[in-house]
């Protein structure tokens, strides 16, 4: 049931629960673990049995925690008569707004069944005319470098070849994956610690999110990308200089055109200290950076950050994928960015209005192809590193994103799922039963950062091995030869116009 503030509840007018936990009382040992573990207070121990009292969101905690696995969470289908147009989703939205009068708030990535182009793309493999490579026995390289390049290198000769100075700052990652920006505030201390520790172990980068960097995490700073968002939380000169790279956040795929929103419930003492704001207030990031109203202002901000970091680290810009993303990306490169992150509309978030999450933006598959093609056409593509994010769910998505034009991908939700998240879309309420999207001590302590880090490490290592398997099958021994190599993809979906826009041939079209 939605939490609301009106004094008189008219139960018959409200939407019923979507889920109900059902206990098999024959197996139940009455240990009451499920009752204490449910952070949504949907279970109660009454008259000697465990009873469901409403409010279940299918977070899955009770299912795993029950020692005899006797709980089943059922989706209550019978509550609404079936209607394909006025579907359950729509009717619930209406009922909720009629009760609260508010803008519907939600979290995670969009759950509307828009087509996913990743699932309509097939990869190529080498047969006869060139050989596949065995990644278990022969070298297949996945190292990726983040930073700007100058398009050519001056090499001098003096009995041997040498170069004078490094052209610019460059950060090496062992695989083309970056853990995306998840702020301390939207997630817990333990969750962020697990992500940072995983990034360090894997030798990749992790975003700090717009919550600043907690001093305990300085030890991970060489694997952290700091974020300069519109609220400038925790952004001091020292913060900028400490980390491996700096990203200016213009937007986020889940909520293009919208600022960040951390509800007061989640602004604990810890958050208040790290973000340098009063306890319990909503932490709001303005919609635009109020010093960027046009592209030349962005150049100014990039330049001032480069000065502030003494040109020692790459400076990048993150934008949400919107309709003019190609031109915007071009402008960003010309404004001096060393790397660009394009965040697609299916990306996740800790809190956002549903209207923006579900109806605004572009899918990353199309956005990254458009950006890659546009930058290539303008002769700029080899000056920047391009990241693609926004619901990269598996290694297949990662590989296809790279083939569509990304140097590397930004992954957030999948890393959280590895740590326990069930994508139940309740992050904004701050009572995550897995200890991830909450600041409550008793919930945060449920997440062991070492265990979480190890799980994320194993996940991305196996993705990296799968990347090598695919590269090898294609006869490619280094991931840079797949970046933007759209010849290696074929579109298998219903809409050939989309294939044309993405620059991908249709299945059955050869190339010789």
């Amino acid at each position: 049931m939605v939490q609301h503030t009106s004094s008189k509840r008219r139960m018959e007018l409200e939407a019923p629960d979507r889920f109900r936990p059902v206990v098999d009382h024959e197996l139940c040992r009455k240990c009451k673990k499920c009752v204490s573990e449910c952070s949504f207070r949907a279970l109660e121990f009454v008259d000697g049995t465990v009873k469901s009292i409403g409010g279940c969101v299918a977070c899955g905690r009770c299912i795993n925690i029950c020692p005899v696995q006797c709980i089943e969470v059922r989706q209550i289908q019978s509550m609404f008569p079936p209607h394909a147009n006025f579907n359950e989703h729509v009717r619930r939205g209406i009922m909720s707004q009629a009760t609260t009068g508010g803008v519907l708030l939600t979290s995670c990535g969009t759950d509307i069944p828009y087509p996913v182009m990743f699932d309509e793309l097939l990869l190529d493999a080498a047969q006869v005319t060139n050989p596949a490579i065995d990644p278990l026995r022969e070298t297949v390289e996945t190292a990726t470098f983040v930073g700007g390049r100058k398009g050519m290198l001056e090499v001098k000769e003096n009995g041997r070849l040498y170069m004078e100075k490094d052209p610019g700052p460059m950060v090496a990652m062992d695989m083309p994956i970056m853990i995306g920006h998840i702020s301390l505030g939207s997630v817990s201390y333990n969750a962020q610690k697990a992500l940072f520790a995983a990034a360090k172990e894997l030798n990749i980068l992790a975003g700090s999110g717009e919550g600043g960097l907690h001093k305990d995490f300085n030890v991970y700073s060489q694997n952290v990308v700091s974020e300069v968002a519109s609220g400038r939380f925790g952004v001091t000169g020292e913060y900028l200089k400490r980390t491996a790279a700096v990203e200016i956040k213009i937007g986020q795929g889940a909520k293009p055109g919208h600022g960040g929103h951390l509800p007061g419930e989640k602004v604990s003492a810890l958050i208040s200290q790290t973000r340098m704001i009063p306890l319990g207030t909503d932490a709001l990031s303005p919609y635009p950076h109020h010093d960027i109203y046009s592209i030349e202002d962005l150049q100014q901000l990039i330049s001032v950050v480069k000065e502030a970091t003494e040109y020692k680290v790459p400076i990048g810009v993150k934008i949400a994928a919107v309709h003019n993303v190609g031109a915007i990306a071009s402008g960003i490169v010309r404004a001096g960015a060393d790397f660009i992150t394009i965040d697609g509309f299916r990306g996740g978030t800790g809190s956002t209005p549903r209207i923006i999450r579900d109806h605004v933006g572009l899918p990353i598959e199309v956005a990254i192809s458009v950006v890659d093609q546009r930058l290539t056409k303008e002769g700029l593509r080899n000056r920047v590193t391009v990241f693609a994010g926004g619901s990269i769910r598996s290694s297949a998505d990662m590989i296809k994103a790279i083939a569509l034009g990304a140097d590397a991908v930004m992954v957030c939700t999948a890393a959280l799922v590895a740590m326990g998240c069930r994508v139940c879309q309740q992050c904004h309420r701050g009572v995550c039963s897995w200890g991830i999207a909450t600041q409550r001590e008793e919930l945060v302590s449920r997440l062991d950062p070492e265990v979480g880090a190890a799980r994320v490490v194993r996940l991305f290592r196996s993705w990296n091995e799968e990347l090598k398997e695919i590269l090898g099958a294609m006869g490619i021994d280094s991931v840079e030869s797949l970046v933007g190599n759209r010849d290696r993809l074929r579109y298998f979906g219903p809409n050939s116009k989309i294939a044309e826009i993405m620059g991908v041939k249709h299945v059955g079209e050869g190339w010789g």
Partner: protein, 414 residues
């Protein structure tokens, strides 16, 4: 027993090649004009090259023999030869050799050339009818061309003569129907076409030519139509490339050269390789072994074992030019004329294609081929070796073998 009955009628003769293999039908054949709908060509092949480093001359017969011995590597759909040091009396003129499908193409090309400079001499390239080759036979014509000084090309006045020649050749290949420029370097020419290597050799009567260096290639393409323009060597300015293998990073490499102003009209990975050499070495000024390193770089974990200076250079070459990494199997022979006639041989870093080098006992002649027999047939007492994967062999007239393909990537002359 194959080979015992020789007198088959003309129809039957074309149905078998000289080895008694079935000659598969290729109903579509094209001369200068690119086959419609062609988006990419692939294929396997045989390559061979020889260079007289003392400045002496090698006859076209020798190179023909090298390819002929490796006859299994071709299927009759294309072969070609490049000769350097061919026109000493016209050494300062750009020798532009064309395939022309009709008179209109020829006059268009001539008008264009005359508007941009002067034609010192032009002549029909000698060709000899070969019974086993099927039409079309494009006209093959040669122009010795000198661009006007202070020339304006499409509004630009900052182009060097070399830049202009590159733009001009690409323009003709993409925009003038029925005309294809097959070579445009000084003191060199490319002879190629649709047929077996011995047929092409006979078609152009290569025995009448001699030069300081020859490169050659015989094709085994895996798709029809057969196209004169698609044969190797593929040439831009004085660069020519013979290539055995298939580049799996073609899409990435092509975007890179196109982004730097090159236009692809032949649509093979070899064309992209030729453009990449011109871009990296002539335009960007990279030393040859640095350019070779870019195309076939060491693995990162091996770079770490180099000395720090070399490791830094290696890493930055890989980063800056990552779009120029040639992935997939390849053995290439690259020829250039500036500053002096040079032959470069390079194999991919996994050594998936064969590449053999040879040197005559008197040290004057160097050879490169896909198989040892190609070297032995012309130089029975040659010393032979294989270069390391990803390490170039460089031989230059007047200097000898600068690198034999087993050295440290950045140390030493070359």
């Amino acid at each position: 027993m194959p080979g015992s009955t020789r007198d088959r009628g003309s129809l039957q003769k074309n149905a078998f090649d000289n080895a008694g293999n079935d000659r598969l039908p290729t109903p579509e054949r094209y001369g200068a004009t690119r086959p419609p709908g062609l988006t990419y060509q692939m294929g396997g092949c045989g390559i061979a090259g020889c260079i007289n480093m003392a400045g002496g001359r090698i006859s076209g017969d020798a190179i023909g023999k090298m390819l002929e011995t490796m006859g299994e590597r071709e299927n009759g759909l294309g072969a070609g030869f490049a000769c350097y040091g061919l026109f000493p009396e016209h050494r300062d003129d750009y020798c532009m050799q064309f395939f022309l499908d009709h008179e209109h193409a020829k006059s268009t090309v001539e008008e264009l050339l005359m508007s941009l400079g002067s034609i010192t001499k032009d002549e029909k390239v000698y060709t000899h009818r070969v019974k086993t080759m099927l039409p079309p036979f494009p006209m093959v014509w040669r122009y010795f061309f000198r661009p006007n000084p202070r020339l304006e090309w499409r509004g630009r006045t900052d182009l060097s003569n070399d830049d202009l020649m590159v733009q001009l050749a690409m323009h003709i290949n993409s925009d003038v129907p029925g005309a294809l420029c097959v070579s445009s370097g000084k003191d060199m020419a490319v002879f190629k076409g649709n047929g077996y290597s011995y047929e092409i050799s006979k078609f152009f009567d290569l025995g009448r030519y001699s030069g300081k260096m020859w490169l050659s290639h015989s094709r085994f393409p895996t798709n029809s139509p057969a196209w004169w323009g698609g044969a190797h060597p593929i040439s831009i300015l004085d660069w020519s490339v013979c290539h055995n293998g298939e580049i799996t990073s073609y899409g990435v490499n092509r975007k890179f050269v196109e982004m730097s102003g090159y236009r692809c009209s032949v649509l093979t990975d070899t064309e992209v390789i030729a453009h990449t050499w011109d871009l990296l070495v002539r335009k960007h000024g990279l030393p040859v072994q640095a350019a070779a390193f870019v195309m076939a770089p060491w693995y990162h974990r091996d770079i770490l074992r180099l000395d720090p200076e070399s490791a830094r250079l290696a890493t930055w070459l890989r980063l800056t030019y990552k779009e120029a990494l040639l992935n997939g199997p390849f053995s290439i022979i690259v020829g250039r004329r500036e500053p002096e006639v040079t032959m470069i041989a390079l194999a991919d870093r996994k050594k998936l294609r064969p590449l053999l080098c040879g040197r005559s006992l008197d040290g004057k002649t160097a050879y490169v081929a896909s198989e040892e027999c190609a070297v032995r047939v012309v130089e029975p007492n040659a010393e032979t070796w294989t270069p390391n994967a990803g390490s170039p062999m460089i031989a230059q007239v007047g200097k000898g073998i600068l690198r034999n393909g087993t050295e440290h990537p950045f140390v030493g002359v070359g």
